[in-house]
């Protein structure tokens, strides 16, 4: 392969930055920030290069690297991208970059450790999307927990310890079952190689159990109802960057895992459980939407809205047709952008007023108009207004699901109404009516905040008005995956 090494470069480049930060004196925080920023920027440019050189007519894995890693158990350092993962790599690096920007002024303690943790997160996120060896995948999957744990636990809000423990236990609880399933696969077939495992057959009983093992890990990450309760707590307590990574990438891992592993490896079990997961998705959509109506905390509300949106994603994935799955993958990216941006917005206002309570605000549109305009765009994208990216994803998902199960769609589509209700209500309470005393004389948006929010706005309209290039990346790979499912 001519492109040998590009994936490794993207994956390991942040190590350079990490090394540089470690040798920098902690009394020079600005140098540390600049190093982190440059590292993330170069990594992002590398991942754009990956997009540029990716051949989307080819459904196979590209840029493959395969080096023996743990010979004893036949595990390889095996990287590769196809249409499903290729878009997530630049998304991860972009999110890291924006997180570094948005935390520029808001993190003042332990700056060195914070940026180290962020760069580690970047490595682990990219690693999850790139690895094609199940063991390697699992290692990155769990490795991601550590920096996230630290980010929430050290720089988080007052109840951070509780939240981190809950977050850790939930996700760990899920992944244990996945590990068991991975080990079973190894014992049965003697390999961790994803490409070799496709097409293996199992007895129905075993297949269902393995499916459930993987599903549990992914369901906790997504999070699907009823495994969602860790998410609002984690989001509420996390610092802005932590929330953005959680919303932008971490919960996408679940959806990505479903498309990557559940569908191709266990096609029969997928068919068997599809109905169940559709029902759970619809419950998630409506339940979380209703929960949003009664929140008084900005971050919590947005966290529940993510649960609702991820319900759409799982709905799309398990509609098991190209429209639904393409829509689901696109919606994951959209959701990363939109919800990430919303969390950044909350971070912006939180830095100024130190309050997350919705009641604290009012009339911000008068006193903080530019911010209000940006927030309005993200709100509209979140409720799926045509022309923004949210619409494309939701439309494709619902259309796909309609072809699988009409009744589900009728329920799921009510989620769209509820979504409009809670987001607009939030907007009204925070931005409209007479300004309250706490929101006068807010400092204007800083350069780093503008730099991190404007790209999101551009992406929202780009994907909303011209989603085809993005869909082109995934189309062939999705049809290849669907070819396995009878």
């Amino acid at each position: 392969m001519a492109d040998f090494g590009l994936l490794s470069a993207i994956l390991w480049f942040p190590l350079l930055g990490i090394a540089a930060i470690i040798i920098t004196n902690r009394s020079r925080p600005d140098t540390i920030k600049v190093i982190a920023l440059i590292t993330a920027l170069i990594d992002f440019i590398l991942s754009i290069l990956l997009l540029y050189r990716f051949d989307f007519t080819n459904a196979n894995f590209q840029f493959v690297e395969k080096i023996p890693w743990l010979d004893v158990i036949n595990s390889f350092y095996f990287l590769g991208v196809d249409g499903i993962s290729v878009l997530f790599v630049p998304l991860s690096t972009l999110v890291t970059l924006l997180c570094i920007l948005i935390s520029w002024y808001s993190i003042e303690e332990k700056v060195k450790e914070f940026y180290l943790a962020l760069l580690f997160t970047n490595i682990a996120m990219v690693g999850v999307f790139l690895s094609l060896d199940l063991l390697l995948f699992y290692v990155f999957w769990e490795a991601l927990l550590i920096p996230m744990y630290l980010i929430i636990g050290i720089w988080g809000g007052p109840r951070r310890i509780y939240s981190t423990i809950k977050f850790f236990l939930y996700t760990f609880f899920g992944s244990i079952f996945m590990l068991a399933a991975i080990i079973y696969l190894f014992l049965q077939f003697g390999t961790f190689d994803y490409t070799l495992l496709i097409g293996k057959t199992f007895t129905p009983q075993v297949e269902k159990l393995l499916f459930l093992g993987f599903l549990l890990a992914f369901a906790v990450k997504v999070p699907m109802w009823p495994f969602h309760t860790w998410l609002p707590d984690a989001h509420t307590e996390a610092p802005t960057a932590g929330s953005v990574i959680l919303a932008g990438i971490l919960i996408k891992l679940g959806g990505y895992g479903m498309v990557r592993f559940l569908l191709p490896l266990f096609p029969q079990a997928t068919l068997f459980f599809a109905k169940l997961i559709l029902v759970l998705s619809v419950i998630a959509i409506i339940y979380a939407g209703l929960a949003c109506l009664w929140q008084d905390d900005l971050k919590r509300l947005i966290a529940y809205s993510s649960v609702s949106h991820m319900g759409f994603v799982t709905l799309g994935i398990f509609s098991l047709n190209p429209i639904g799955i393409n829509g689901a993958i696109l919606q994951m990216i959209n959701h990363g952008i939109v919800t990430g941006a919303l969390f950044m917005c909350v971070g912006v206002i939180y830095d100024r007023t130190h309050s997350r309570a919705i009641n604290y605000y009012g009339g911000l549109a008068t006193t903080f108009p530019l911010y209000a305009a940006l927030f309005m765009i993200f709100t509209l994208a979140s409720i799926g207004l045509p022309g923004t990216n949210g619409f494309v994803g939701e439309f494709l998902i619902l259309q796909g699901a309609f072809m699988k199960d009409k009744a589900m769609v009728i329920f799921a589509a009510t989620g769209v109404i509820i979504g409009a209700a809670y987001m607009l209500w939030l907007y009204q309470r925070v931005f409209f009516e007479k300004p309250v005393s706490g929101v006068f004389n807010l400092p204007p948006l800083r350069w780093n905040e503008l730099l991190s929010l404007i790209p999101m706005v551009l992406l929202i309209f780009l994907i909303g008005l011209y989603p085809n290039p993005f869909l082109d990346f995934m189309k062939t790979s999705v049809s290849k995956i669907l070819a396995n499912i009878p």
């Binding site: 209703l290 429209i323 494709l396 009516e433």
Partner: protein, 656 residues
Amino acid sequence: MEGVSFEVVRSFNLSVFLVPFLPLLASVITLIFGKRYLREKPYILPVSALLLSFLISLKLLVDVLSGKIYEFDLYQWMVVGSLKVGLGFLVDPLSVMMLCMVTSLSFLIHVYSIGYMKGDPGYYRFFSYISLFTFFMLILVLSNNLIQLYLGWEGVGLCSYLLIGFWYEKKSASDAAKKAFIINRIGDFGFALGIFAVFYYLGTLYYHEIFPRLPQIAQTYINIGSYEVHLPFLISFLLFCGAMGKSAQVPLHTWLPDAMEGPTPVSALIHAATMVTAGVFMVSRLHPLFELSPHAMAMVALVGLITCFMAATIAPTQFDIKRVVAYSTLSQLGYMFMACGVGAFAVGMFHLFTHAYFKALLFLGAGSIIHALHHASDPNDIRIMGGLKRFMPITFWTFLIASLSIAGIPGFAGFFSKDEILVYAYFSQYPWGKLVWFVGLLVAGMTAFYTFRIFFKAFFGEFKGVEALHGHYPHESPKVMTIPLIIISFGAIFSGWLGIPEALGGGAHFQRFLEQVLGHPKLLPVDHAVEYLLMVLSIVAGLMGIGIAYLVYVKKPALEVFFSYKFKVIYNFLYRKWYFDELYHRVFVVPTLWLARTVVNLVLDSFVIDHTVNGSAKTTAFSASLFRKLHSGIVNYYNWFILLGVVIYLIYIFIR
């Protein structure tokens, strides 16, 4: 396309492209740079963009009249699997007529707003929003597929939201904006499902591919529960939900009267002339689908009929001048749907066209009055008006023209279109045609009555607002507002002359033009003698309405109080708008919030995993804490665990 053959141009055409995108460009530039660079004159760009758009539309009209149709995709929007949607344009008689109407009115209302909105802190914002609205409306009208229609549909909804909530510091305004958006969302929910169904059963979303494929589903029945449902009816119903939301038909009508919180030019443009008629436009655009199912047609007619009647009964009891006009809009929209429901789509569109002018004129006239009274605490209240004829002669005359037009006095635009609807309803082949005619006639009289009620109250008698205005007297509005009024009043008279029916010696050119797209209504044999009789009846109804209004509000003002006391129950029922708002509040809002609160309470401490995690937060041993927590010592929880065992056992049995 039925009947006449057109030359279809399928290549990119710059002028078609420019019509919607000029306002968009103007809007974006005004929004971004308006505050800093355009300070006092943010209207320059939008107004000139609209003028250009209007001129291009006229050019397109000439093209279409000479037998050209433009249909092309700008680019492919979404392509996945079998789904293929582009962003494209379709210019045919139907859309070019809407195009001219929208651009001309939008231009005039932009000009009017220069005066009306002067001095508002959000001056630039207003022009940006309203030309953004025009962009979305044009996208809606020009769309050649359902998704793009939906794009425009939600887009105008968004602008409506932004403009109703324009004075967002007022709670009532931001509430009304939210209400409008959410109620529209409910309608769009059905609309979206309808689009899904169209794609699922027909495999395409382009109009020109949908219509040839319709015969495939003409006789299809699908099972819902244990009922067999006629598929075309189902799809029509779902799509019509969207129309009910956007065109404010019963039961989704409650947002429109509240939407009057927005500035008056907005009410004139969005909530009278253009956006709310999108539903009628959509039904007409998809008329082959609706015509497949008689039930769907009956539904359209019935919904229109109920709305028409209901709004006409509420309007005379309201005191807010804009609300009265809003209810009359509801009522006229009902008329249009009634026309669609009896198969006379072209006539429905004709009424849409004339209505746009006279209703915009009515609103702008009301706006002119409000502008004159804007020092009062509630300038919309007709009880503080009176005798304005003296102070505002131009407004008086234009308002009179609009009122005569809506009352259906011969020679004015409203007469021709309204009369056409009644005639077509009477001679319709559909069995509900006679009913539609009867209610239409009744409402015609009521319309005349309540329109002239506000007319007489505002312009005749003594001026009663001296205290409210702190001793000042109202004055005529500036030229920049009155000139658009005068121009539109020409529209309110002469727009009807385009379609003078054959019976009166005209050629009904307007209807013939649209019938090339919309098809001929199915009629019983028309008897001209009866047709004349019908006309006379509707004129008499209109005159009677005016007469009664004159009697009650000018001659014997005591009668008004007498009636409202005599029929207290009915009066209250009407005054509270048939209790729709209260009903929805009790039936939908309160239970939803209750449910939400319950959900949150469940969330706060849900599921056994959560309990265990809470308990173990401080301990290191996860499993130990699990069992520790299980040992709560509380009998009920023990009961639960016992029963949980039973549950697991039962599940095991089922799965096995």
